[in-house]
């Protein structure tokens, strides 16, 4: 962890205009009457940050290096509600001079009023949930925008002075083919965004589409979802195209022009502390004890809006010395550059590296990990099978 690190803050806004079939987060379509109560909750939660730090036994640093409003769709809040959130942030924290201030926007939800609030609050980065530039594909998963809206939104953001734009795509959406994916990638590259995220569709029982795929049914166009081999091919096609366009891969699902990586997200993979409030948000703060210098607390908010507004307490998980080492590997290895073994040795002691010699050697032999100049990283194939690799770093 570098010395010049200040605080980071994540806020979730779990409201959407429609629920996408692939969504496996606790966000959804809720009554607008809840919005006010939720904003009030966030105001109070943000104000509690110093107290949260104190409870962990760590000094509160009011300077923010990064702020991230995610969702859900923060842009579905009313302008004055969004403004109240922004004001709450400034009431407790001070934005550092070079702050990275990101808001997630669903194309088509960016009103002039919201844009004005963003500019006024010094938001300088927007992550656009585009998912696909092919209208049939966005329609099939229940998104409300089309290609034209996306292109228009990018233009308006730039005109308003927000240049740090990230575009999300999903590989593995219903109806996707190599050809249609090519069109999405070409559109993305033509927009020359400084940052992009490409996610392979996650199939689990937390999303409607995932459940349908597991059940083998045909709802949500599940029978038009590309098979695993095609999804993998789409992902690799994206990585090749984006890398060639100078938008270099720096994490399993993230790509950026040099210097435009998401500083906020890097903190997660590099285990730097952050505050987090709202539905399903987490904070991770140092909570050292004598003999346990790397001890930290993860404070996870409940994933139910009702429970949260009902006053449900967050869950506290102790991240002990051993878990800290394991996380250092399985989060750090998500980055394309990998982890520097000597740095791990210096931070946690020689044993933190020696213990994994055999694990690492076995994965290197399988072609899933490689070591170069002291950096341990996933190979291209290892990225696709990264869970198999990461599981090996966990103690039983």
């Amino acid at each position: 962890m570098s010395n010049e690190v200040h605080s980071a803050l994540y806020l979730s806004v779990p409201f959407c205009k429609s629920k996408c079939s692939f969504c496996n987060f606790a966000s959804g379509v809720f009554s607008r009457q809840l919005f006010d109560r939720y904003v009030a909750h966030l105001e109070q939660a943000i104000a509690s940050s110093p107290q949260v730090a104190e409870e962990c036994g760590t000094a509160f640093d009011p300077i923010l290096d990064s702020v991230y409003l995610g969702g859900g769709t923060p842009s579905v809040l009313a302008p004055d509600q969004l403004r109240r959130v922004m004001q709450a942030i400034r009431a407790t924290f001070t934005l550092a001079a070079g702050v990275e201030f990101t808001v997630e926007i669903a194309p088509g939800t960016l009103s002039e009023e919201i844009l004005a609030v963003l500019v006024e609050a010094s938001v300088n980065r927007v992550s656009l949930g585009v998912q696909s530039f092919v209208d049939q594909e966005t329609r099939a998963v229940g998104r409300l925008h089309n290609r034209e809206t996306t292109l228009a939104d990018v233009e308006r953001l730039r005109a308003a002075g927000i240049a740090e734009i990230s575009i999300d795509l999903i590989a593995g959406l219903p109806y996707q083919t190599e050809e249609s994916w090519r069109r999405s990638l070409d559109d993305l590259i033509a927009l020359r965004p400084p940052h992009a995220s490409v996610y392979m569709l996650e199939v689990d029982d937390d999303s409607r589409l995932g459940r349908e795929l597991i059940a083998g049914g045909e709802r949500y166009h599940a029978h038009h979802v590309p098979d695993e081999a095609l999804t993998v091919a789409l992902y690799e096609q994206a990585a090749d195209s984006l890398n060639a366009a100078g938008i270099a891969q720096y994490e399993i699902s993230n790509f950026a022009h040099a210097g435009h990586e998401s500083r906020h997200n890097l903190r997660y993979w590099q285990r730097q502390p952050y505050f987090g409030f709202g539905v399903e948000a987490s904070a991770m703060l140092p909570a050292p004890l004598p003999g346990e210098p790397h001890r930290a607390l993860r404070i996870s908010q409940v994933d139910s809006l009702d429970a949260l507004l009902g006053g449900a307490k967050p869950e506290r998980t102790v991240v002990g010395e051993q878990q800290a080492i394991e996380e250092t590997y399985f989060l750090g290895l998500r980055q394309t550059k990998g982890v520097e073994l000597v740095a791990i040795k210096q931070e946690f002691g020689i044993d933190a590296v020696d213990r994994y010699r055999e694990v690492i050697a076995a994965q290197v032999e399988r072609g899933l990990l490689e070591i170069e100049d002291g950096w341990l990283r996933l190979t291209r194939r290892g990225r696709l099978l990264s869970n198999d690799v990461f599981a090996e770093f966990l103690t039983e």
Binding site: L331, L394, E396
Partner: protein, 604 residues
């Protein structure tokens, strides 16, 4: 005691036809146990949990009751309980040989079943006086006349004097006791003659060593006596003895005609063979009692623990089980796929299931059991004769001259509507019909010769399915057939997995192989590389399937909110892998080793 006042009898009944309830009722009436004592333990004679659950008796018991009969005399009634399953037919025959009479208990709602029939024949052959008893007459569906008819046509007994009772309510039970006194002859034998006592069960007691249940036929068996087991030729000193009432009561001697238990200087149940004759070491009898057989295991399987660290626990558990069960044997074996385990021999499939369940339940072990096998007589081209009970010891096919497989004679009793399905099943199992006859109006008795090999895999389950549970089966080993048996190997990623090999008839090898590899394909999870699954006879591949390589196993999104959740996911995945067995480079789940059994069942 005056020998003319002794009655030794057994109860012959099918599972659930009420043997244990009737025994308990008799104990209550004779005052051996008060109703309060009975209440503490639902059914007194079935001591083990498993016995009670399955409604069968695994170990024999002998209970002495004193009954004040209507003729004014008090009789000593010795109830010799018999194991209730086909796997234990030898024990049954020894128990029956210790009696002069038997109650044939038939459920008035069900009729005669195959095992009842088999055991009745044994009793008839031993010259026992058989008293038919029709139980459960309190049930609305009871049909006493039809049950009598079946007893007459199937067993061939005069059922006109059959006693209608309800063991549950106690109705008619006193009449049963009266009939025992009247009809069962008192034991013969001479107290002055040299000792001859028949062993019909044994068990292990942690404090006193090996307990033996025996019927004294001639002479006296007393505390402090030096005895000799005639078949084994070993001698021991009797250190204590008694009778079960059913609580153990110490006595000083047992004389001709009596039944009881004793402890001697034996250390393990293996020192005692059921059916052996006890005599006085110093004044031995000239002849042993007839009917002794050194019974051998018929079914064999490998037992392994899922967690290889539990190997020692398994060995300890097997040793403890063997203390009480000399009919079960085990020896260490090792498998390249499963590591260190034990080759075990059982009297039959139920016996195997009982041992397996006890290991899992009482010793909390997670087991992998390989497909059961039988013992083959293999003759090699150079004339050498081999006994092979383990597929991994099967000789190279080019060296085999001929193979003989064990054959059973199976008697199946069923209702006529299931005959079609059952005949199809036994034909598919290479059976040869010996007899087919109607017993009673709509009941059919089918007798077939069947290879035991076909029976050990899935015959019971299939029979139950095709007959919807309305078929009963009894069998005994009856010979050998020369058959073209071959070893079917399963290769995973080019490596033969020894624990999956089975011995099959050449004509069904192709179908079995195909079914097996397709089942394996479903059960073996995708790995990081493509995995070929093949079935082979020697070097010839007869079936092949492929498990496609796992292309991706990746969490696309991992940000601050869900690191703990994602960690749990990784942990779960790791735990799943730990529970698999690694063969070469491939992780094989536990279920795959049981697939051999399941595959055949799904063909139907």
């Amino acid at each position: 005691m005056d020998r003319t006042l002794i009655r030794n009898f057994a109860i012959i009944a099918h599972i659930d036809h009420g043997k244990t309830t009737l025994s308990d009722r008799m104990l209550e009436i004779t005052g051996s146990l008060t109703a309060r004592e009975m209440a503490g333990q639902e059914q007194v004679l079935d001591a083990m949990d498993l016995e009670r659950e399955r409604g069968i008796t695994i170990k024999a018991h002998a209970v002495r009751m004193l009954y004040a009969a209507k003729d004014g005399q008090t009789y000593q009634l010795n109830l010799i309980d018999t194991p209730g399953h086909v796997d234990f037919s030898y024990e049954v025959s020894r128990s029956l040989a210790s009696c002069e009479g038997a109650l044939l208990v038939v459920d008035a709602t069900q009729g005669v079943e195959a095992q009842t029939l088999a055991n009745s024949y044994i009793a008839i052959n031993h010259g026992l006086e058989i008293i038919p008893v029709i139980n459960k007459i309190d049930l609305p569906s009871a049909d006493i006349e039809r049950t009598k008819e079946m007893i007459e046509s199937a067993v061939g007994l005069d059922a006109s004097t059959a006693l209608p009772i309800s063991a549950k309510t106690g109705m008619g039970v006193i009449e049963v006791l009266e009939e025992i006194v009247k009809r069962v002859p008192p034991p013969k034998g001479r107290v002055e003659a040299p000792l001859q006592a028949l062993i019909f069960d044994s068990w292990f007691d942690s404090y006193r060593g090996v307990g033996v249940l025996a019927r004294v036929v001639n002479g006296r068996l007393y505390k402090g006596q030096k005895i000799k087991l005639m078949a084994k030729g070993t001698t021991f000193l009797v250190d204590s003895m008694g009778v079960l009432t059913p609580k153990a009561a110490e006595i000083g001697e047992l004389t001709a005609g009596e039944v009881g238990f004793f402890f001697a200087t034996m250390k393990t149940v293996g020192d005692v063979k059921i059916g052996d004759t006890i005599t006085d070491a110093d004044h031995p009898a000239i002849e042993a009692m007839p009917g002794f057989e050194d019974i051998k295991a018929m079914v064999f399987a490998g037992l392994y623990t899922v967690d290889s660290h539990e190997h020692n626990l398994l060995r300890d558990a097997l040793e403890k089980l063997r203390l009480n069960d000399a009919s079960f044997f085990f020896e260490p074996e090792s498998s390249t796929a499963l590591g260190f385990g034990f080759r075990c021999g059982f009297l039959g499939l139920l016996h195997m299931e009982i041992i397996q369940e006890r290991l899992e339940r009482e010793y909390n072990l997670d087991l992998i059991i390989t497909a059961p096998s039988v013992r083959y007589d293999v003759t090699l081209t150079d004339g050498t004769a081999l006994e092979v009970d383990n597929p991994s010891k099967w000789p190279d096919p080019t060296l085999i001259e001929s193979v003989k497989e064990p054959i059973i004679t199976a008697t199946i009793l069923t209702a006529e509507e299931y005959v079609g399905g059952i005949l199809k099943l036994v034909e598919e199992k290479r059976g040869k019909q010996k007899n087919f006859e109607y017993v009673g109006a709509s009941r059919v008795m089918i007798t077939y010769e069947l290879p035991l090999n076909e029976v050990v895999l899935d015959f019971y389950d299939r029979l139950k399915t095709v007959s919807r549970g309305y078929a009963s089966l009894d069998y005994h080993l009856s010979g050998w057939w020369e058959s073209p048996m071959v070893k079917l190997d399963i290769l995973v990623a080019g490596e033969s997995v020894d624990a999956l090999s089975i011995i099959v008839h050449r004509d069904s090898a192709y179908e079995r192989g195909k079914a097996l590899v397709s089942k394996m394909r479903e059960l073996i999870p995708r790995q990081q590389f493509e995995v070929a699954i093949q079935a082979a006879i020697g070097a010839r591949i007869v079936a092949r399937e492929t498990v496609a390589a796992l292309r991706k196993n990746v969490l696309a999104k991992c940000y601050g909110g869900d690191i703990s959740r994602k960690r749990k996911l990784l942990e779960k995945q790791k735990e799943g892998k730990r529970r698999m067995k690694r063969v070469g480079k491939v992780d094989i789940p536990q279920e795959a080793f049981l697939a051999v059994l399941r595959v055949a069942s799904e063909e139907s």
